[in-house]
Symmetry: D2
Subunit: 337 residues, 4 copies
Amino acid sequence: MIIILKAGVGEADAKELVQKIESTGLKPLYMPGVERTVLGAIGDERVLQSLHLDSDPRVDEIKPILSKYKQVSRELNPIDTHVMLGNHAVGGEKFTVIAGPCGVEGRDQILDVAEMVKGHGVAALRGGAFKPRTSPYSFQGMGEAGLKLLKEANALTGLPTVSEVIEASDVDLMAQYVDGLQIGARNMQNFRLLEAAGECGLPVLLKRGMSATIEEFLLAAEYIVNAGNPNVILCERGIRTFETATRNTLDLNAVAYLKRKTHLPVLVDPSHGTGIRELVAPLSYASAAVGADGIIVEAHMNPKEALSDGHQSLDGNDFAALMSGLRPFVEAAGKRL
Amino acid sequence: MIIILKAGVGEADAKELVQKIESTGLKPLYMPGVERTVLGAIGDERVLQSLHLDSDPRVDEIKPILSKYKQVSRELNPIDTHVMLGNHAVGGEKFTVIAGPCGVEGRDQILDVAEMVKGHGVAALRGGAFKPRTSPYSFQGMGEAGLKLLKEANALTGLPTVSEVIEASDVDLMAQYVDGLQIGARNMQNFRLLEAAGECGLPVLLKRGMSATIEEFLLAAEYIVNAGNPNVILCERGIRTFETATRNTLDLNAVAYLKRKTHLPVLVDPSHGTGIRELVAPLSYASAAVGADGIIVEAHMNPKEALSDGHQSLDGNDFAALMSGLRPFVEAAGKRL
Amino acid sequence: MIIILKAGVGEADAKELVQKIESTGLKPLYMPGVERTVLGAIGDERVLQSLHLDSDPRVDEIKPILSKYKQVSRELNPIDTHVMLGNHAVGGEKFTVIAGPCGVEGRDQILDVAEMVKGHGVAALRGGAFKPRTSPYSFQGMGEAGLKLLKEANALTGLPTVSEVIEASDVDLMAQYVDGLQIGARNMQNFRLLEAAGECGLPVLLKRGMSATIEEFLLAAEYIVNAGNPNVILCERGIRTFETATRNTLDLNAVAYLKRKTHLPVLVDPSHGTGIRELVAPLSYASAAVGADGIIVEAHMNPKEALSDGHQSLDGNDFAALMSGLRPFVEAAGKRL
Amino acid sequence: MIIILKAGVGEADAKELVQKIESTGLKPLYMPGVERTVLGAIGDERVLQSLHLDSDPRVDEIKPILSKYKQVSRELNPIDTHVMLGNHAVGGEKFTVIAGPCGVEGRDQILDVAEMVKGHGVAALRGGAFKPRTSPYSFQGMGEAGLKLLKEANALTGLPTVSEVIEASDVDLMAQYVDGLQIGARNMQNFRLLEAAGECGLPVLLKRGMSATIEEFLLAAEYIVNAGNPNVILCERGIRTFETATRNTLDLNAVAYLKRKTHLPVLVDPSHGTGIRELVAPLSYASAAVGADGIIVEAHMNPKEALSDGHQSLDGNDFAALMSGLRPFVEAAGKRL
C-alpha cells in the first residue's frame, strides 16, 4: 500500500505513521519527496484496514497495490472454475446458452418456450418468478406458482432452470424448485442476499450492477464464495452510461478483462445489454468472439404478448436464427455450441 | 401516450393498433406522417400497459406523457408533506440537520457524539448498526447491539434516531429501537425492502441509488407510499459519474428538480456526496441555498479511529464550524436552523 | 413532432400554438388530455425550428419524431456507402485493418512499422503528426516533418495513409501528404474543422467523441456530408463511463446500432477503446463479430520506446497474432481479411 | 511516482527499471513485496515521461504522486488570481455576474438586453457571435456582424463583453471587438485554440468539457497559462451523466474542489448546467453558497423568440428576481453583489 501525505506534513508526523504501519507487522517505507512525503507498506496490506489511515487528516490519498478480492482472483487460483448447472459445465469447452422468457407468465407459455429452446440445444432455461420492477404498478411475477411451472418445465425437457432470487429469505424456497439462482443487477450489492446465496450450494448467476465497477462486481462474488459457495457465474449485462439509444451499454471490455482477473466463468446478457431485439444477435456473436463462456438470452413464443421485456425478446424464428448465426463465431473462438 | 411506428408500417397495421388502444377505453389518435405514422392515446395511459405496445415489432418507440408515479407527484398533491421524526417536522420551516457517525462502534462512541451534535441543535441522530460494505472483509456493523446503543443515546439526549435497514425481515426489529429507517443507495431498488418499509409506520429516509434517475427515485418512493406509508423523506447523496476526484457527484440539480415534482421533503447527504471532509461544509451551504429541506452529515469524535467513512466525517470542531457557517445560508433560504 | 404542454395550460393558449404550427405549413393536431394537452405537427418537423417552441413557457417538452440527420440516414439512403482509401473500399466485402503507431516519431520508426503491417496485408497505415495531448508538457507530434515521413512510407509500401487533423487551417497542408484525414474524439464537435474536412475531397475517419451520443455522432458526420464530402468513415473508439479499469468503455452496441441507422461504414478502434494491450485482440474479434467494417489499431516495433500510447500498442509479434486470430471471426462474419 | 510491476516480474527486471529511474537523476526506491514488487521515484516525476514506463510490459500500473499541472496549482502559487474583465476583478470580493443572450441575434435584441442587465448591476455582457451547434441545420451565429453589435453594446452601457471563440484563427478578430474570450465546453481540448488564446492577452473564460475530469480541466487551463496568458477564469457548466431530467448535471463538488486546488477564479453557468429556466435561480444561489466567484447566465428580453437556448433563458422579470434572490446568499458567502 502506498500512502501519500498531504503537502506540508513534516518528518515527525510521517515517522509516527511509519511506526503505526510497523506495529501491524508490515514492513514500512519512508520516502520524503520534494513536494510531499510518500509512505509504503510491504506485506498483506489488508491488515492495514485496522489503522484507518484513509481517515487520518495528514493523509492525502491511499493507493492500494493488491486487489481487495482474493478467492475469486486468478492470480491466487489460476485454474478456470467450471460451475455445474445440472449436467452442464459452465466455463468448460461448450459455449453455454441459457434462454427463456423474462418472466414465467403461465403453464403453456413456459412449457412451450422450454421445448422450443430445448430443440435448439440450449444448456438451461431461464424464467423469473419474482420480478424486480421499477414501478409498483408493473407485473411483479407469479411467485411460487411460477417456480412450480419451472420445475414442471424441467421435468418435461430435462433442462436445468435458473431463476432470480430477490430476497435472502426466499433462497430455501427457490432451492426446492430450480437448479440455479440468479442475483439481478439491482441486488448485486444486497449483501444479505449474497451471503444467503453463499450458504446455499446452488450455482449462482451473479449479474453486474448497472453502475458497479469491475472491482465491486468481483467483491460481490467474493461475498458468495467467502460464505462457502464457490459456484459463481458472473454475468455482464450492460452498464448505465449517458447513451440512451440503447437500454444499457454492454461492456465487452469487462468480459475480456474479467477473464484475465478471475477464474470464474463469465456470461453475457445481450437482451438487457442492448434492450433492442435486433441487436441481440450481433452482440451475442461479439460475446462469443470476445471470449465469454456463454450468453443468457430472453426468448418468448409471442413477444408481443409478453408481460415484461417483450421488446427485447426473441421469438422462435429469431431464436433459431440466433443459434445458427452464433455457431461459426463460437467455433472461431475454439468452443462448441 | 405517443406511439411512433416504424418506417414502412402501413395503414392496415396502424389501424389495428388504433383499435387496440380504443379497446382499453382510451381515445386514440391516428397521425399518418410523411416519413412515419404516429399514434396517440388520450386518457390514463397507465392502462395501456396491458397492451404491451413496446413489444410490438411494428412499434419503434413509445413516448409516455404522464409520469409513472402518482402518489408522490406534486401535480396530483401540491401540498408539502411534513414527515414527523420524533417531534421534528422534516419538510417544515426548520432546516433539518441529522448527524452522527457512519456506524455505531461502541457505547462511548455513540453517546459522546450524540451529546456533541445535540449541543449544536440537530434534529436527529444517525448511526448504522447494519452496514452494507463493498468488501466482505470490512466492518459489517454491530447489529442489534448497535440498535440498543442508539436507543440509549435517544434516552440520554432526546434526539430521535435514524438507522439503515438492509433487509425486509429486519424492519420489525429496527422498529423496536429507532425512530426512522434509512434505506441506503444500494437498496433503493430492493423492492421487498421498500414494501416492508411501506407496511411499517416509521418515517423512511430513502437515499437515491448511485445510478438511479430521478424518475426511478420517485418510483421507489411510490413503492413505499403505495404500500401504505406516506412518511417518506428523499435524500440526494451523489451519483456515480466519470469524475473520480470526488467520491460521487452531488446532484443539486436533482434537489431543485425534485422540489418541483414531488411534495415529499428532500434532504442532502454531503458526506457521501463528496467523500472529502473539507467539501462537506461548502456543499452543505449549497444544499441549503438550492432549497433542500435539510442535510444528513457524518460526525465522529475521532474520525481517525472511525471504523468506516472516517475520511469524510467531521469532528467536534468541524461540526461546530459547519453549524455556524450554515446559519446565514439557511436564513437566506427563508428557513430556520 | 409532439409538443407536450404544461399542466394547466388552457384551450386558448393551446389553440394559439396550433395556429403557429399551421402557419409553417405543417398539419397540426390538437389532443386535449385528462392531465395535460398534447399537440402534434405532421410533416417535415425541421421547419418547426423557426417557431422555437422549446422556449415557450407553456411548453413542457418537445418530442421529435424524425431524426435530426438526413444525408447520413439509412432510412433516406439505404445503400451502403463505400469510401475509397487509396484503392481500398472501406465498407465493402473486405474487412478493413488500418494499423500503425500512435504518433510518427522518426524515419526508421514509421518506415519499419509500415513494412511490418504491410506484410500482414493491412489496408492502410495510420500515424499522427499533430497530436492532441491532455498535458501541454507531453509530446505534441512532429508536425509537417511527420507528414513527409508518412508520404515516404506510402511511397515505399504503397499503403494509403491516414493522419489526424486538429485544425481547419491545416486541412490543405494535410491533403498534400496523406490519403485520409482523421478527426479525433476531442474534435468531433469542432464544427469549423468538420466543415473544412467537408470542403476537402479526402476520406474522413471521424471518431466518436468520448461523451457523444450516437445522434450527436451522426450529426457531426452530417456536417461533413452537408459541406460536400460524402466520404465519411465512422469510428467507435470507446466512451467515457464510470468504469476506470479500462481506459474507455468500448461501445459495441453502438456499432450494431449505427449499421442499422446509417449507410456509412463503421470502424472500431480497440486500442483507445480499451487502453490495454492484452485486450486489443479480443475486442478486435468482437468488433468483427458485431458487424463492424474494420478496425484501426496501434502498432509499434518497440512499444516500450513509444512516445505516446505505448501501453496499448502491439509489437510485431502481437500484431501477427492479432491478424491470424482475427481471420476466422472475419470469415464467420461473411467478410474477407 | 509509484510503479507497480506485474506479478511474477523478477529481481533482475526490477533492478533494470531501478537503474533507468536512477539515470534520470531521480532517487529510486525498490520495494519487493509478497505478491508483487513496487518501485518508487522521488523527485520531479515529470522527467520520468521520457522513460515511457507505462508502455513497459513489465509494468502493471503507474501511480503519479504529483499533479500534472503546475502553473495553475494552488500548491505552487497559493494567492488567488484576480482576472480583470474591463474594470471588474473576477475572483475578488465582488461576486461576478455575467449575463446576456446565448447568441447575438440583432441590434435591438443585444442592446435591449445589455441595458436590462446593466440596470441590475452585472459585471459583464455575454453573447455568442460564433455558435457551435450540434446540428448543421441550426442557427450558427451572426459572425463578425455580431461582434460589432457587442462592441456597440459595450459603447452604450460600458459593460465589458465576453464572447465565444471557436477557432484559433479567429482570436485576433475577436480581440478587436470583445473584452474576454470564452472557450466553450466542446473546445476545452482544442489545444490549438487554447494556445492561441494563451498568446493573446485577453481574459479567457474556459468552460469545462462535458466529460472532462477536473484534472483535464486544469490541464486545459495550464495550456493557456503556459502559452503566456495568466488571465484564465474557469467555468463549471455541468457534466454529462446518465441523468436526462436535466440537460447536464451541474457539478458543484467540482467548484469547491477547484477552489482548493487552483488559484484561478471559478464561475458557474447554471443555464447550461440545468437547461431548465426554473432551475437557474436555485442553482445560482447554490453556486454562491458553495464558494464560486460568480455566475454566467443566459438572459433574453423575449426567450420565446430566442434563436437558441430560449428554454433556459431568463426574461427581464426572471432576471430581476434572480438578482434580488441572489443577494442574501452572496452576502452569506462573505462577498458583495
